[in-house]
């Protein structure tokens, strides 16, 4: 046994693991960031330069970590508005800028590199730092915050709809990534005692990324196993000679194609271990507040999608919003919930202005929505989906078995959302919305895809929620359902409110009949699709409009 050799392998493995984690943490929020390779360089050079300038070792160590974290935060701030591939491309640019600087600046020794760094990475320091970092990532992942990070990865819009601040999560993961990368850089500098800028290029980054992809992104076990594999493999594959990285890259591509979730696909999502897991919801309407639209106007191009829309949804009422296709109903919900900014007018919940607020802020304020096309996190179970909506665990909270029974979800609690039928998806989404403890609920076509029995169960639930003081704004095309449950109905047509009143008043309103059934007297029905055989005479009670 050559212990010195095994020791060096372990040291390289520890640094590889830190880098794999640094790439993994943003990936778990759905962000491919190439910045870690540059931030590793920042950490390494910050330590080297500080120590060369006579800064005491512990201080230089902390300083380097601070530089890496701060740079990570800056990367986060620069990319926080970006989606998809834009994050990867921007961070690629950032990493290349850092490389160009260290490869050319005199302070970093330019392309000759930086040598004579004090060897501070003793085996004890290496082990302690790596274990501490690993413990940090494990704790993060099995906390409710870890669940929320994953929710942002799976569907940012849905995550925001239940009050998760995707912005904060992105900034956090990028900062944590910077800290991990800087730690790797510091240990690397203190272990090798010299730095070569060529080690901080895209090619090196790809090797760290390989470990994450092959191990899989289901949980932190993926990067660990991947790193073990890629630290040991070079030794076992010496016979490949100069073809080693070529073969590895090909293997990673094969894994990517045939096992998209990595080799450790079978490892389940980490369980939340902090706080007791309880199903149920906070009582709705902690403080009841009216939702008020005042002169809301929105144009897409020259078309007024919403034109001076004003009405109020009072606590303890079911308020229906109806209108033909293209009337602006969903746009109004999008304005209220923060996904679309209105040009004029205001949205108030109680006395709080919600205009130009982020969707997650609106949700945390107590206005929570569901979507026309249900947006659940497909790889999470029903109960995980619902629990994502909780901001912190409250051990004293009573499980609300009643809600689960009402929504007929109890036998599906452990089913993955991807395996649910349409009506079950909708019910899970409603349960998730209620789990946030809203004071006002926006339901976008809740009965679409539900059978008669499910619709009746929903009716009973909504009536109970109403009795508990919740305000409910309901957009739906099932007129029988709407007219029998609503306390008040607002009718939109071409972006304008054309009627507002009780179901009876609205059904008799000539303007409404005209909007739904075309010009009076002509019998033209160009704006509606009337369900076969159910056309009522002189009212809209039986008219069903296609979604």
């Amino acid at each position: 046994m050559n212990w010195a050799y095994i020791g060096s392998l372990a040291a390289i493995g520890a640094i590889n693991l830190l880098m794999a984690l640094s790439v993994y943490v943003p990936l778990s929020a759905g962000l491919l960031s190439v910045a870690p390779i540059g931030l590793m360089a920042l950490g390494a050079y910050a330590l080297a330069i500080a120590m060369a300038a006579g800064v005491p070792t512990p201080l230089a160590f902390v300083l380097a970590l601070a530089v890496g974290s701060a740079a990570g935060l800056v990367v986060g701030l620069l990319t926080v508005r970006l989606t998809g591939f834009s994050v990867a491309i921007t961070t690629l640019g950032i990493a290349e800028v850092i490389y160009t600087v260290i490869n050319n600046a005199s302070a970093t020794g330019a392309s000759a590199g930086f040598s004579n760094i004090s060897p501070i990475s003793s085996p004890i320091v290496l082990t302690a730092c790596t274990l501490a970092a690993l413990a940090g990532v494990v704790v993060l992942e099995s906390s409710i915050f870890g669940r929320q990070i994953r929710a942002v990865q799976l569907d940012e819009i849905a995550a925001r709809s239940v009050g998760i601040s995707a912005t904060m999560i992105r900034l956090f993961t990028m900062t944590a990534s910077g800290l991990l990368a800087a730690l790797a850089g510091v240990l690397y500098a203190g272990y090798l005692t010299y730095l070569d800028p060529q080690e901080f290029t895209l090619g090196t980054f790809n090797q760290y990324l390989m470990a994450d992809i092959v191990g899989g992104l289901s949980s932190v076990v993926g990067p660990i196993v991947g790193t073990l594999l890629f630290t040991a493999l070079p030794e076992a594959t010496r016979f490949l000679g100069g073809w080693r990285l070529f073969v590895f890259a090909i293997l990673v591509m094969i894994v990517l194609v045939i096992r998209p979730r990595g080799l450790l696909d079978f490892v389940p999502l980490p369980k939340v271990r902090f706080g007791r897991r309880k199903l149920g919801r906070r009582p709705p309407a902690m403080e009841s507040a009216a939702l008020t639209f005042d002169g809301v106007t929105k144009r897409f191009g020259r078309v007024h999608v919403l034109n001076d829309v004003s009405f109020s949804v009072h606590p303890g009422t079911v308020h229906a919003l109806i209108g033909p296709n293209g009337a602006g109903k969903t746009t109004l919900l999008n304005v209220a919930s923060g996904y679309v900014a209105s040009e004029r007018g205001s949205v108030l919940l109680g006395k709080m202005r919600l205009n130009r607020r982020s969707p997650d802020f609106v949700a945390r304020a107590g206005l929570v929505r569901t979507f026309q096309n249900p947006r659940l996190f497909p790889s999470m179970t029903v109960s995980e989906n619902v629990d994502v909506a909780v901001r912190r665990y409250q051990p004293e909270q009573k499980a609300d078995e009643e809600l689960w029974r009402r929504l007929q979800l109890e036998e599906h609690a452990a089913t993955r959302a991807s395996a649910l039928a349409y009506g079950q998806l909708r019910r899970t989404e409603i349960a998730r919305a209620l789990r946030t403890g809203p004071s006002c609920l926006l339901l976008d076509e809740p009965t679409a895809g539900m059978d008669r029995e499910e619709t009746e169960a929903l009716r009973a639930l909504l009536l109970d929620l109403k009795a508990a003081g919740l305000g409910i704004l309901l957009v739906d095309h099932d007129m029988r359902f709407v007219m029998t449950i609503a306390d008040r109905v607002t009718v939109l047509n071409a972006g304008r409110v054309i009627a507002d009143g009780s179901p009876g008043e609205v059904q008799r309103d000539p303007a409404v009949v005209e909007a739904y059934l075309g010009e009076p007297g002509t019998g033209e029905r160009s704006t509606v699709d009337v369900e076969e055989g159910k056309v009522g005479r002189g009212g809209v009670g039986n008219v069903k409009i296609d979604a």
Partner: protein, 294 residues
Amino acid sequence: MILLAAVIVGTIVLGSIYALMAIGLNLIYAVAEVVQLAQGDMLVVGAYVGYLITRFVPNLFLAEIGAIVGCGLLGVVVQLLLFRPLAGRGHLPPLVAGLMLGTAIEEGLRATFFQGNPVRYPSGATLSTSLFNVAGVPISEAQVVIVAIVAVLAIGLNLLLNRTKLGLAMRAVAERPACARMLGVPVATVVTLGFGLGSALAGAAGVLIAVVFSYITPFIGIDLGFVALAICLFGGLGSLSGAVIGAFILAFTEQVTTIYIASSYKDAIAFTLIIVVMVFRPSGLMGRLVAERP
């Protein structure tokens, strides 16, 4: 004045090569909805295919045709085996695939060709770079031939996209894939061919870059890939005319920087441009990327 003329000539030469590269990348994005991060490495494959051919037959035109065919085929294979299975799995897998493909190409070329040491085309297959005057403007044979080759390719591409059924199908798939499918366009095949065409353009640019640089290594692709990406972001991803405009603007900026400031800063332009465009105009300068709405 001579200097300015040199800048303009240099811009036209470099810009036309950049345009080939960027149009290829944009074509792939438009048809396959993939940002091909290994486009710069694909270009290097073209340069090495040209190198192999000129070793046996020292003819630059043959090298150019060989690189176009070789990279086109490689693009088709890569799309079929790698990118097609990844379609519909979100934006991350194709990005990772591009990075891995880049590593595979660089490392494969390095292991095959002299440990990655620079290689040069044999003298019979290069063009003279000695300058002669045309109405007071210094021009070399290499510059004239490169611009001529690019012009021919551009006309060919234009005819392909606008005058053939395949071109029509590609444009239809780029704009409304679902609609194209309903109208009977074999979308999967068109995507594969579009990917191959985009890769072929990179290969075409590769041989020309080898002439301009006078040497190649497996690692020149990374920076050139950045250049292509920066051009596409600047001109709007998916926009072919935007790519042409962006290519000449970037080439001009690089020429001016090299001549009037310092050549070591030249490489920084592309990725600085990337960061600035992404951070301040996430949708691209003439972009058509739109934010997702529920």
